[in-house]
Symmetry: C2
Subunit: 198 residues, 2 copies
């Protein structure tokens, strides 16, 4: 739905449209402005023209605003693994999925940066990020099992992939200029191969 459509609808419909989007925007703005802890849910809701109660109808908790998008990322990773050509090795399928994720992050570069800065500044948010990454690993392992890969190979390949994702992403975010994230990921995978061979 376009912005024009939103304007059109205002006053016609009972409420402003896109409540979830407004809440998300308000939350991000406030988290960036004053930090996560210093922002209350009441403030977020108020800035979005809604009430606290409504915030909690859209997001299970204050942290989830920054993470609900992980669901679609998970879907992409799983599909990439599932759709990999037969005969692709587990680690190659995982690597392909991780690189697709890398491409996506690269597209929304500034957004990724801002988001990561907020998360990095708060331990509670780091916890949430880690559990989302763990969920991604679990989902990838499950997708591998769906291809006939057994444990512990499936789990190990998935965990290795997440390790590469984390490390590459952190480096990429820390770098000032813009360099290629998927390429950095490929390099990390080959480093990992050398390291474990150690």
């Amino acid at each position: 739905m376009s912005v024009a459509a939103i304007k059109y609808d205002a006053g016609v419909s009972r409420w402003e449209p896109n409540a979830r989007g407004r809440l998300e925007q308000a939350a991000m703005d406030l988290y960036v402005e004053r930090g996560f802890e210093q922002t209350t849910v009441a403030e977020i809701a108020s800035r979005a023209g809604l009430t606290e109660r409504t915030f909690f109808r859209y997001f299970s908790d204050k942290r989830e605003v920054l993470f609900w998008g992980a669901a679609s990322l998970q879907e992409i990773l799983v599909n990439t693994i599932t759709d990999a050509p037969g005969g692709t090795s587990p680690i190659a399928a995982v690597a392909a999925a991780i690189e697709v994720a890398g491409t996506l992050f690269q597209e929304g570069r500034e957004r990724s940066r801002a988001r990561q800065a907020v998360i990095e500044a708060n331990p509670e948010l780091k916890e949430r990020e880690l559990i989302k990454l763990a969920a991604l690993a679990a989902a990838m392992a499950e997708a591998l099992r769906g291809r006939g890969v057994r444990d512990p190979v499936a789990s190990l390949a998935a965990e290795a992939g997440i390790a590469v994702l984390k490390i590459s992403f952190d480096e990429w975010v820390a770098i000032l200029g813009d360099d290629d994230l998927p390429q950095r990921m490929r390099a990390a995978f080959s480093e990992l191969r050398a390291v474990t061979a150690g």
Copy 2:
């Protein structure tokens, strides 16, 4: 310290000794009996003969009761890596550290089991566990850097070690009989080598 000793001390000192230990014990008991969420800090404190406020003086939050022991584990991992003979490869140093941890878990087997059951049953606790594991990985990476290992090798080796720890530990906990955790960890490391070799 035995119950008898506690009785002896009562009345001599102003308070029962070992407040922290009593809080920890009370918390574990309650978490096992009714689950983490269904237990209030007030109940824990009351069972330990203390107040809520005192609980928060010993533990930064309700979850930390189950995790404050991670500090000494981290120390052990770091020391093992630091003290590894010169010329030991990064992954070998990490493997050695992880196996030491495995030995420790094995000694307190029932305790590990009970604890893990509580954690597994609650997402908040899983989050906390993950961030502790991430802290362990970061500390091991730092110890490797202290040996002259550069990034991303140091980080990758540390993350790989944590992945092996996690997966082996989970399997070991799930198994009914008692089998050897360090040995399981060695096996997982060699699986990982095969997996990343693709």
